[in-house]
Point group: C2
Chain length 342, copies 2
């Protein structure tokens, strides 16, 4: 149908329903994307088509239902998309109360950190997200006394981990020299010997990083190629069975079709098990280059006022039979039809 | 090795580590099972072997480290298994604040409900778990104005859903006439026409329940056969694409090997996508027939003082290409080597 033709992304009846249920709660494009849990590019095309058909209207960058739209919603018996996210833990289920001091120390680095740049699809999470990651990894037994590697670290997870004092060893692979410099300086201040490898993850892992770690953490661009590459490198870095890996995945730039495909790859190709998928765990700060992105062009050109870009946190575990991948990749890994923020 | 020979369940080094990290925090068998996230039968065999080897000792049903055990933990550099579960939402990330009145109304039924019996592997969740399920389904857009079916309802989800007034239609399939009678009486009191089908899920779904619902909820016994059967029936009951299903899965009676296999079945056979896996979502009340179970025999024979049996909540969604199953099953679905509570 018309919407699919425009976006190139599968549009279900439920996709339209999710957008309309969200418009019942907010007139803000970014919040509609967040609440509807549909791919941004698709949300934009759904809104445009519903506008053309007279169900929605846009005034000063705000989206609302027309009378015809209200009738439609009445006839569909749609309910508002209501969030029941717990305030105390921001919906993660993980308390950071016991890591309050860690958060304070981490803030000192967070405030001085290099700004995200578009070239590497950067964009970083809130400090409380980072500390919640540390708390969760600690709860799972993946951090205390363990060797951990961070694959791409614009969130500065390595600095928070070093400040916590929990891990036995921390390594970072990062392509951006502004970030490796920053982490290197921080590591000296903290007095934790973070091993920093400034390199491109498309290159195979060097032998000293293969089969060495208990835990990896990564937050890849959301094309299938990038997900496969980053997670494959992560598994390659692990010692063997019952080691763990963490990565983020949004609904903003990854459709449920893509989710299914990445899950199939995890199960069938890598033969790992998924132990946790926690919604809205990773909350991203708004970033400066938003106006240069496709997301902006597809939006109502109204600067986001609140956090709107969030991702699910996946945790996987290796088992007997788990397979990894370490071959070179030469292609572009940053863009597909569902991408919008890079 | 010795432990695997006894339990028939794969024992990793990490399994032993998880048990020992938990013994650092508690001497209570049931809490060790909960914290270690290893299969109960395996935990029991690990403890026994570690006792025989002089690392652990048991006094009056309480488990503790011997001096030799303390040295071992020192040399392994093990950290305590610490939980950072959020108190406000009991670690689910979902607040039930806005459904306080619903919880109160539900309690009136909860207090009068039939006791769980062993024959059907019953055991029910806390009332706040049930209300959190309602809140979560509501947030996901799976309940308001929708048709929902509950496959096996000893948790009385149907009563909570009816009290909420959210769904358009509620159906229940339940084998135990004590429960169907109870729900039927409650439905009349509430004035919500819950369709009750007293039948065995091993029988195929009758045609009037096939392809009718938007959402299913089920909490199967944890053998692969039962999981496959209940989820297959659930998917069969759904209308089509972008409908959802919910089910629970423990680590107490399901190893990560079993988790991987059930995930493979979801992805490869049913071709659904997993959207959420939320730890410790379902918290089970302690039940009377515990002393008749294998779990009791494998335990230190000390009555559980706290909630210890919890499960992860899975949410799945159907997509284009999803397949279902509705054939008859004749085998025993209640027992496998990892089972202990039925």
């Amino acid at each position: 149908m018309e919407i699919e033709r425009r976006s190139g992304i599968k549009c279900y009846e439920r996709s339209i329903e999710n957008v309309l249920s969200s418009v019942l709660v907010t007139s803000d494009f970014w919040k509609i994307v967040k609440d509807s849990e549909e791919v941004l590019v698709l949300v934009s095309d759904i809104i445009n088509v519903l506008e053309e058909k007279g169900y929605l209207e846009e005034t000063n960058g705000k989206i609302s239902l027309t009378d015809k739209g209200k009738q439609l919603i009445e006839s569909m018996k749609l309910y508002e998309k209501t969030s029941f996210e717990c305030d105390s833990c921001e919906g993660r289920g993980i308390s950071i109360e016991e890591h309050k001091d860690l958060l304070k120390e981490f803030m000192r680095y967070h405030e001085k950190r290099p700004k995200p740049i578009r070239k590497y699809d950067q964009g970083f999470v809130t400090p409380s997200t980072t500390i919640a990651r540390i708390s969760f990894m600690m709860e799972k037994g993946d951090l205390g006394g363990k060797r951990i590697i961070v694959l791409g670290d614009d969130d500065l997870v390595s600095i928070a981990a070093a400040l916590s004092g929990y891990p036995k060893e921390i390594a970072v692979i990062e392509i951006d020299s502004r970030i490796t410099d920053f982490i290197s300086k921080a590591a000296k201040e903290i007095g934790f010997d973070i091993q920093i490898h400034e390199r491109d993850l498309r290159e195979p892992l060097p032998s000293e990083l293969v089969g060495r770690f208990h835990t990896f953490f990564t937050d890849p661009p959301e094309t299938l190629k990038a997900l496969q590459l980053f997670i494959g490198r992560g598994i390659t870095s692990l010692i063997g069975e019952r080691c763990s890996g963490y990565f983020g995945l949004t609904r903003v730039e990854a459709s449920l079709e893509k989710w299914r495909e990445i899950q199939r790859i995890l199960l069938d190709d890598f033969k790992v098990v998924i132990t946790d998928i926690i919604r809205s765990f990773n909350k991203y700060m708004n970033w400066d280059y938003i106006k240069e992105t496709k997301a902006w062009n597809k939006s109502t050109k109204w600067i986001p006022e609140d956090i709107w870009y969030t991702s699910y946190l996946y945790r996987i575990e290796t088992l007997s039979g788990t397979k990894s991948r370490n071959e070179r990749v030469d292609e572009d890994i940053y863009q597909d039809v569902e991408s919008s923020t890079s």
